[in-house]
């Protein structure tokens, strides 16, 4: 019994300690959660054009991705959902600023469940009609920062505190509204589009800073040329076509 337990523990430790290892032609792209669908397709299209190369996609909230890169995660390309996160990456010298480009734009929208009332402004989000409002956690999710900014300038942030459900990334906010667990949520227009049959866009939320997606090659990348090739592809006509199909605007 003890021997079995010990061997289980040991193999678990080996499994846990085994480093995430990407093979030579694997290009690891860490991209903001809101880019999930579009980058999945871009990755596939890129692989078709460059047989032999493999795109490994890693989606999470931008801050989480930055955190991972800070801690030495083997990412070659970083695509963030806001300039602020990319600025922080640049300050910490984690990305090659010469490769940094804005490749897409987006808009923040207020979505509601199909059964919820349609608010006309940010001041209509009463607790009675919208007991739960899903917002990406402003401490780590760009969409949440944009939403907080917009709500603060509309004098709504403090009032909504008891209704706000902070989420780990923008897609979780979308999911909560799609499931009717939250009656309203702040997501990108592109996110709302992926769940058209479950959520309704009530209004476009004005943001003081434009929602733009910067991309850059990381300093830690050991295959800079390959990484640059991918960044170029995202910016190419093919890449832009895919992005615009998913609702992203030109930067």
């Amino acid at each position: 019994m003890h021997r079995i337990a010990r061997s289980i523990v040991i193999s678990a430790m080996i499994l846990a300690a085994a480093p995430f290892h990407a093979s030579a032609a694997d290009l690891v792209v860490s991209a903001a959660a809101s880019l999930s669908n579009a980058f999945a397709e871009i990755g596939k299209a890129y692989e078709v054009k460059h047989p032999g190369d493999k795109i490994v996609l890693n989606f999470a909230a931008s801050d989480v991705l930055l955190k991972q890169i800070e801690q030495g995660a083997p990412a070659d390309v970083f695509a963030s959902a806001d300039e602020a996160t990319m600025d922080r990456a640049a300050q910490s010298n984690l990305v090659d600023t010469l490769t940094r480009k804005d490749f897409a734009g987006n808009t923040l929208v207020l979505i509601v469940g199909l059964s919820a009332k349609s608010p006309n402004s940010l001041n209509d989000l009463s607790a009675a009609d919208y007991p739960h409002i899903a917002i990406g956690n402003p401490d780590s999710v760009p969409a949440g920062r944009y939403a907080k900014e917009a709500l603060t300038s509309a004098d709504g942030w403090e009032k909504l505190q008891s209704q706000i459900v902070p989420t780990q990334n923008v897609r979780q906010a979308l999911d909560y509204v799609a499931r009717d667990e939250a009656q309203a949520g702040f997501v990108y227009a592109t996110d709302a589009q992926t769940q058209k049959d479950k959520v309704r866009v009530a209004m476009t939320v004005p943001t003081s800073t434009q929602v733009r997606y910067p991309i850059a090659v990381t300093r830690a990348s050991k295959q800079v040329d390959l990484a640059k090739g991918f960044v170029d592809y995202v910016e190419s006509a093919d890449g832009r076509a895919i992005l615009s199909r998913y609702g992203f605007s030109a930067p």
Binding site: D63, K67, H132, N137, S140, I164, V165, P166, R179, E181
Partner: protein, 227 residues
């Protein structure tokens, strides 16, 4: 960060983990009793199915709990319609998530502990006029409780550290559903390492204290029954 900032998530964690352990233990004991000591294929299949929460990734577990307990889930819809209760984004929801995640531990421990009790003792009680429930409460459980408690301790540890399922079901609402593990995750993600470290220390100290108290408790009762 101030210690007071850790108090709220700490108390919430203790409340959630304690209640989850109580629920998981009661249901685990009942199911273990129901499954009985005879090991048949059908019963082993049931036990394996009930052990799934231990094997499934917590986020997957959380997803299914969200599906079942959510406003559109059959259980959640029923709660909402008949009782006006919603479990999503509430600490009660966190209790359920942690209880479901911890339940296999109490079930397995209880079933093993019950079958370790000599069947002849239960038979003896029957010939002395004891009904099945009397046999359980006066013979089986008093002889098996240490194994059951060991399972409950593991369940408590599991409930305290529960993260994925709780995050999905209860969200991470500061002051309301944000337990220590959720608060630590949020602090790490927000880059607030000082806060994260402080919370980790609080969480570690709590876990060690709880386990020490439990070990003491087990030790003392052991002495009492042996002498």
């Amino acid at each position: 960060m101030m210690l007071s900032e850790a108090i709220v998530p700490l108390l919430l964690t203790l409340k959630v983990a304690t209640l989850a352990t109580v629920f998981a233990s009661i249901v685990g004991i009942a199911v273990a009793k129901f499954l009985g000591r005879r090991r048949t294929f059908a019963r082993d299949v049931v036990e394996s199915l009930l052990t799934l929460p231990l094997v499934l990734p917590p986020t997957v577990l959380g997803y299914y709990l969200l599906v079942v307990l959510g406003h559109n889930g059959f259980f959640g819809a029923w709660l909402m319609r008949d009782f006006g209760i919603s479990l999503i984004f509430t600490w009660q929801g966190a209790v359920i998530a942690a209880a479901v995640a911890a339940f296999p531990l109490t079930l397995r421990a209880a079933r093993a502990a019950f079958s370790d009790v000599d069947a002849q003792l239960e038979n003896a009680a029957r010939t002395l006029g004891a009904s099945e429930s009397e046999v359980f409460f006066r013979v089986t459980f008093p002889l098996a409780w240490r194994g059951v408690l060991a399972g409950a301790l593991l369940a408590f540890a599991r409930a305290m550290g529960e993260f994925g399922a709780t995050l999905m079901v209860a969200g991470s609402l500061p002051g309301r559903t944000q337990t220590l593990s959720l608060a630590i995750y949020d602090a790490v993600m927000a880059g607030d390492d000082a806060r994260a470290n402080a919370l980790v220390i609080v969480s570690l100290v709590t876990a060690v204290v709880v386990l020490l108290i439990a070990a003491r408790l087990l030790q003392r009762t052991q002495r009492m029954t042996l002498t």
